[in-house]
Amino acid sequence: MTVRPMVTLRINGKEVKVPKGTTVLEAARKLDISIPTLCYHEALTPYGGCRLCVVEVTRDGASSIASSCSYEVAEGLEVKTETDTVLEIRKFVVELLLAEAPEAKVLKDLAQELGIKPSKRFKPRNELCIACGQCIRACKEIVGVSAIDFAKRGYEKIAASPFFERSPDCIGCGTCYNICPTGAITLKDIAEGEKAVLPDGSEITGPARIIDNWKVGLEMKRCKQCGEPFAPQFQLEYFSKKVNLPEDFFEVCVECRVL
């Protein structure tokens, strides 16, 4: 393994030495300096979209505002994580997003932390998706499926299935549901015999998993031993094919397998 060269920088006056390629956010965390984040997730490629993690960076004498999650460290870099401008931008971002998704717990918590009250001037929108793109990156980078992507642009930008129709690739793994910071994705498992109508008009009978956002309903596979539904059939087929498993590998659920 090649050793990455080390880079020395200063954050809030404190010197820190980190390997080349580290981001400012990671370096700050090493120093226990807390920077709030929203679209950032340590398992995903940085996006740098929400602008909550902004800091002031000074390089070769020139200062600018940058998102710490996507800014790579450099030798001699000076970082300030709490200048007046930085704090103002963070508050502004939360204030704007709070009007978009007033019910999102993560935003309410951030607002409290930063001392922000909901703006009276902005009409609440009640759109929980704040276009952070975590679901999209997780689906692509972790699951390897890319069932969803952004649709539209500007204010209308939203995570969606292709053409807003039933996603043909979604395996119903629920990674998007679990990673979404605002709870914008609804995932529901319906029980044996329970019926549901999907957005395209088709009917599905439980046991099944329904993800409204991607307009999918997937039948669940039942465990041969305990009889409990344990994962969408389509997902198991996907994994079997991907890693070339024997046909009967997913006949039993994880719990029964352990026993």
């Binding site: 996006y47 740098g48 979209g49 929400c50 602008r51 909550l52 902004v54 390089r59 505002i65 940058a66 998102s67 996507s70 800014y71 790579e72 450099a74 401008t85 103002e88 931008i89 502004f92 971002v93 704007l96 997003l97 009007a99 978009e100 001037r121 902005f122 009409k123 704040i130 276009a131 992507d149 952004f150 539209k152 642009r153 500007g154 204010y155 209308e156 930008k157």
Partner: protein
Amino acid sequence: MKVSGKKDLQILKEKGLASLFPDKTRIMVGMATCCISKGADKVMTGIKEEVKKRGFKANVVPVGCTGLCYKEPTVEVIQPGKPKITYGDITPERVPQLIEAVGKGGVKKEWALYQTEREDLLLDGGYHAYCSKGAAKELKALPKHSEIPFLKKQRKIILRNSGLINPENIEEYAARGGYSSLLKAVTQMKPQELIDEVTKAGLRGRSGGGFPAGIKWLSCSRAEGKVKYIICNISEGDPGIGMHKSLVESDPHSILEGMIIAAYAIGAKEGYIYISSGYSLGLQRMEKAVKDARTCGFLGKNILKSGFDFTVRVKEGGGAYVCGEETALIKAIEGDWGEPRQRPPFPAVSGLWGKPTVINNVETLANVPLIVSKGAKWYSSIGSDKSKGTKVFSLIGEVNRAGLIEVPLGITLKEIIYDIGGGIPKGKSFKAVQMGGTAGGCIPKSLSNLSVDYETLAQAGSAMSSGGLIIMDEKTCMVDVVKYFLSFLEGESCGKCTPCRVGVRRMREVLTDISKGKGKKEDLELLEKMAKLIKEGALCNLGKTAPNPFLSTLRYFRDEYLAHIQRKKCPAGVCTS
């Protein structure tokens, strides 16, 4: 024909000269998008039919934009031994009478705008004389090219071929000294010498902030890595503005030649020409230019026997405004979402496919052959102290003579609006000029003595940017104008970062309230704060400059905002509450 040296280029040039200045009549019809929208295609067809019907020998040639958009469709006629005559407002109905006169060797004086006795050959030096001096006594009353107010203060070096050559004819381009700069660059100059020359010339990027082109080239040429790219950015998208469109439609080879020289200077073997959708004619002409340049050996392997290889791909974009931003443009070429990313790394270090990349705007590149041929000293003698050369502008809006103009930097706004543009129509008074498109700002009448250069415009809260000049008269409401620009940007924001996606939208909502007489007294303070934070906090220059129209109008027209908020009145009578 394949050109492998000076001799071949001379042959190509002579062919072009024979086509440009033939021993029979040459009728040139302005056929850029601006002209076609006014019916030039019908005029062209009509002329061809009339010429055929009347049985006289004439070459009817489509050319680019003459710049005289206020007189379009325009037709120019060259007849051996006679001055070139420029006609304006030639509608299809006027064609038979015009061709009748031309067929008889005469001039249709009523529609003639001016005459030209000689054509400067900028790159070679000297000129081509259409006729001996004073040959046309009967045309004494017709003004000379140099006497036309619209043209007097212009300096056409970038537009030297626009409206004169057939943009799809590489020979005609060569006739005007085309590709001689490339020959000089790759056979007589080292890459570093070229970079030094461009730096010395003081060439600055002709879009965005006016970054020095030489420095951009230098950092890319010094960047680590064997594979480097050059990208030509043809994606201006500001509403109502079309300098780049006109340039690529009128003289694509000048851009291509500049690009090949730039590639040689930075050490790129591959390049992309990124043309935004909506440039269908430009795309077609650029594709033809690339094909012809390849046939002639200006592209491909061992260009002009110099050992330098370079290929170009023309890539049509999807039309998003944000794709004019460097990092978004790169992502679009890579086939990804056209979304900007954080810089650094700058494209000169890590650009297309992660390789060092120079992205130059179309007009920046068109300057390069001039600098190579005429030298940095000549080039830097044009323009102002820190802003060298000329700038092409779309002069539009409430102005008598709208058109595509080219002026030396350092000219005053007043000269452009009054001397070139002929002032404001219908006796109304000039109120403000919006410069630099949506990223720019409004400059009021009181500052019309302002020098048009990068620094002065930035200090005044505006920008050069790609070069739009929208003239507004007293009947324009500034709140309404800003509302328009913000709604344009709201629709064009990629939506990646919160300040731009949500902030610009919320600013527009507050402005809409103000324009409807529902503004609150604390709104201006709120908008100012939002503008400041969007400028600071947005990811890319689309967001960072989005508040500029608001900030500049607030600076110069605060009273107008206050009238809407306090008195619920729109002084210009535009907004209805």
